[in-house]
């Protein structure tokens, strides 16, 4: 039932990159390296995923696992040097972004792919008014005059639920709260009706009540405009209520993929299971918080075998020797774990027997709500 992918061979079910009209973003074997004084950091090391038109996908993982670098590579916002997109293809709407000229890429940025950053407090320019910044985005990508750009900016602010947008437009960022600024960022991102919205931890810097509002907002606007969403987060709670598909990353690699229900209800990688178990839950009140022991490996001293092996409670000798491939488990699911090699069926049975007791009930209610 599990098939082992031939290294380098594209799965037969996938058409040639960029050809499927239903797929807006098709990332193939993306590798982004940073050449620094101590050596080369392989921040993203062979990542593949696809997002359908209007679809929602989350990249999940701990800090430093390559989520943000993946997003910045798609946008080609990696500083080169020290960064280098060593290989790969980023097919967006029929074009490979990595082969575009700088000029063409500028038109894509903001116009067709928009991005929201983690820190709304620092992502807006303190010396320009909110209106100036939205209008700049509008004018860069649409052929409109000053008056029209102003109207569009006002409308964009109204769309994201900013009260009194006519007044807000003349204000400076420091006059707005964190939630309002993130709304402004979303307004700016969506003002040009992009086909893809990349949200890099859009709620991490906000307090919990505002987080919910902003997530709801992103979802509502995304659905209304038919924009595809690439959400980057370390918070599986956020994932559960926002996206359709999940890609779990660790140390620059994809560890597991699947729909959000599948990955959360039945994680097929010890790392995903560990992440889920680490979500604090009311149901486990009084018990010590579950953690994944250890830390992300030093990028200069990556483990020989599976990158998660030193921290994995299920690891055995095999994991130390050789790195597993991303096993295609059928139905869009895949896992980079030796458990899914045909040779280790017995271990897999034990792994699965432990079941989904780790999933916190709050996340389950989100899923079923």
């Amino acid at each position: 039932m599990t098939t082992r992918l031939e290294p380098g061979a594209a799965p037969a079910s996938q058409p040639a990159p960029g050809r499927d009209p239903d797929v807006v973003l098709d990332v193939r074997d993306l590798r982004t390296y940073f050449h620094v004084m101590d050596g080369t950091v392989k921040a993203v090391d062979g990542v593949d995923f696809q997002i359908k038109r209007g679809g929602r996908l989350a990249l999940v993982g701990e800090s430093g696992c390559g989520k943000s670098v993946t997003a910045l590579s798609i946008m080609r916002l990696i500083d080169q040097p020290p960064g280098e997109i060593a290989s790969g293809e980023v097919w967006f709407d029929g074009r490979d972004l990595l082969s575009l000229s700088d000029r063409e890429m500028r038109d894509v940025r903001g116009g067709e792919i928009a991005m929201i950053f983690q820190e709304p407090m620092t992502s807006l320019n303190p010396v320009l008014t909110v209106g100036d910044q939205i209008m700049e985005a509008v004018k860069l990508h649409q052929d409109v005059g000053g008056k029209e750009a102003r109207d569009l900016a006002t409308a964009a602010l109204r769309d994201v639920g900013v009260p009194a947008p006519e007044r807000r437009i003349a204000q400076y960022p420091h006059e707005l709260s964190g939630g309002m600024r993130q709304r402004v960022m979303i307004a700016m991102a969506l003002s040009c009706r992009p086909k893809l919205l990349i949200a890099d931890e859009p709620t991490t810097a906000l307090d919990v009540t505002i987080q919910r509002q902003i997530l709801e907002l992103i979802k509502v606007v995304q659905e209304r405009t038919g924009t595809a969403l690439l959400l980057i987060t370390h918070d599986l709670g956020v994932v559960a209520e926002t996206v359709d598909d999940v890609v779990v990353m660790y140390a620059g690699r994809i560890m597991e993929t699947g729909t959000v229900e599948e990955v959360i209800l039945e994680p097929r990688h010890p790392y995903s299971r560990g992440l889920l178990a680490s979500i604090p839950s009311r149901g486990r009140r009084g018990q010590p918080l579950h953690v994944i022991r250890g830390v992300v490996p030093n990028p200069f001293r990556m483990p020989e075998g599976c990158k998660f092996e030193p921290r994995c409670p299920y690891a055995w000798d095999q994991c130390k020797v050789e790195e597993p491939e991303l096993y295609d488990l059928g139905g869009g699911r895949s896992s980079r774990c030796w458990l899914y090699d045909a040779r280790f069926r017995e271990r897999l049975r034990r792994f699965e027997a432990e079941g989904s007791e780790f999933v916190p009930p709050e996340v389950l209610t989100e899923l079923t709500a």
């Binding site: 946008m75 916002l77 040097p81 500028r106 038109d107 894509v108 940025r109 903001g110 116009g111 928009a114 991005m115 950053f117 983690q118 820190e119 620092t122 992502s123 807006l124 320019n125 303190p126 010396v127 320009l128 700049e136 985005a137 860069l140 990508h141 639920g161 009260p163 009194a164 204000q171 400076y172 006059e175 707005l176 709260s177 309002m180 960022m185 700016m188 919910r212 509002q213 009311r282 009930p361 709050e362 209610t365 989100e366 709500a369």
Partner: protein, 326 residues
């Protein structure tokens, strides 16, 4: 049966749902909303010396602009030889003779009124100071901005150029340039000071850019598709304006003194275009004859201007510092 609504694992009553759905009120307290310039102006006004300095400086500028209206004599008119009766007369309020009125006394050879010269000198000295500063600010901001923003090889090349220019003895370069390019015109002197005065400023701007380019809003601007040039000029440069304004203010004072020096040693502007520097130069020979007014008033004008500019720069430095909260 009503639909069950669950948020954060809690089932909500219909009333609570309705509350959630209501448009979020604007919770922000409506304070008197001031932008950074209004805040800076407020802080500047509390800096007494700076206010005095700017009043004096603006008066000097006004005098320079309104010069011809204020002047009793035209400094260009050289009187006929037989009209020279009392060349080198003291100011009227010293000598007591008000015919003709001589506010600051008279020069010797050409029977020029010192007041006329000082007022006309204000014009050119300020024009040289401000003009040279404008040139050096533009050059310094562009060179520093590009070096700091792009870093790497661009930065290395530009900064090595700056280093090598800074290692030249600038004063002599200015003297030589004034001699060969200047030919006594105030305009070329202004250009010389402008094109040689941006070096320090470019280092300042570069260091500001080095830290500002790491700011999130720069990435955000790039993600919107803004070009590098536009990010430098429209997004980062306005953030560096405060220190640039302070440096520029002080540079005006520096150039005025520099011009005075160059003119004083005889490489500057000729007396047909009076600047405070060359008025001083020409007074030299006659100081021993007791014509103190000839040297005193232009010298005093320089001191007053430079002092008022420095006070103003001090006040601006405090007012434009975003960390100061007065």
């Amino acid at each position: 049966m009503a639909e069950r609504v669950i948020r954060a694992g809690v089932e909500l009553t219909p009333a609570e749902v309705e509350e959630l759905e209501l448009e979020r009120p604007d919770y922000e307290v409506q304070l008197e909303s001031l932008n950074q310039w209004q805040l800076a102006w407020r802080r500047f006004k509390r800096h007494r010396l700076a206010v005095i300095g700017s009043v004096i400086f603006l008066s000097i500028v006004a005098v320079g602009i309104l010069g011809p209206v204020l002047l009793y004599y035209d400094f260009r008119v050289i009187p006929h030889a037989n009209e020279i009766v009392y060349a080198g007369r003291a100011p009227s309020w010293v000598s007591g003779s008000w015919d003709p009125p001589l506010l600051m006394g008279e020069t010797a050879r050409l029977q020029r009124d010192v007041f006329t010269l000082v007022v006309n000198g204000a014009r050119l000295s300020l024009a040289i100071g401000v003009g040279a500063t404008v040139i050096s600010v533009i050059l310094g901001a562009l060179v520093g901005g590009f070096a700091g923003y792009f870093g790497g090889a661009v930065d290395w090349v530009l900064m090595r150029i700056v280093d090598s220019l800074l290692s030249l003895p600038l004063l002599f370069v200015i003297l030589v340039a004034a001699q060969f390019l200047g030919s006594g015109s105030w305009f070329s002197l202004m250009l010389i000071f402008g094109f040689l005065g941006w070096l320090g400023l470019s280092r300042l701007v570069r260091s500001l850019f080095l830290s500002l380019r790491e700011e999130d809003f720069v990435d955000a601007a790039r993600a919107v598709g803004v070009s590098d040039f536009r990010i430098i000029v429209r997004h980062i440069l306005p953030n560096t304006l405060s220190p640039i304004i302070v440096a520029a203010t002080l540079s005006v004072a520096g150039v005025i003194i520099g011009e005075a020096f160059v003119s004083f040693v005889g490489f500057g502007v000729d007396l047909n275009q009076p600047t405070w520097g060359n008025i001083l130069t020409n007074s030299l020979d006659f100081i021993q004859q007791g014509n103190w007014w000839w040297a005193f008033f232009p010298g005093f004008a320089i001191v007053l201007t430079v002092l008022s500019i420095n006070f103003m720069g001090d006040g601006l430095r405090d007012a434009l510092d975003p960390r100061s909260r007065i």
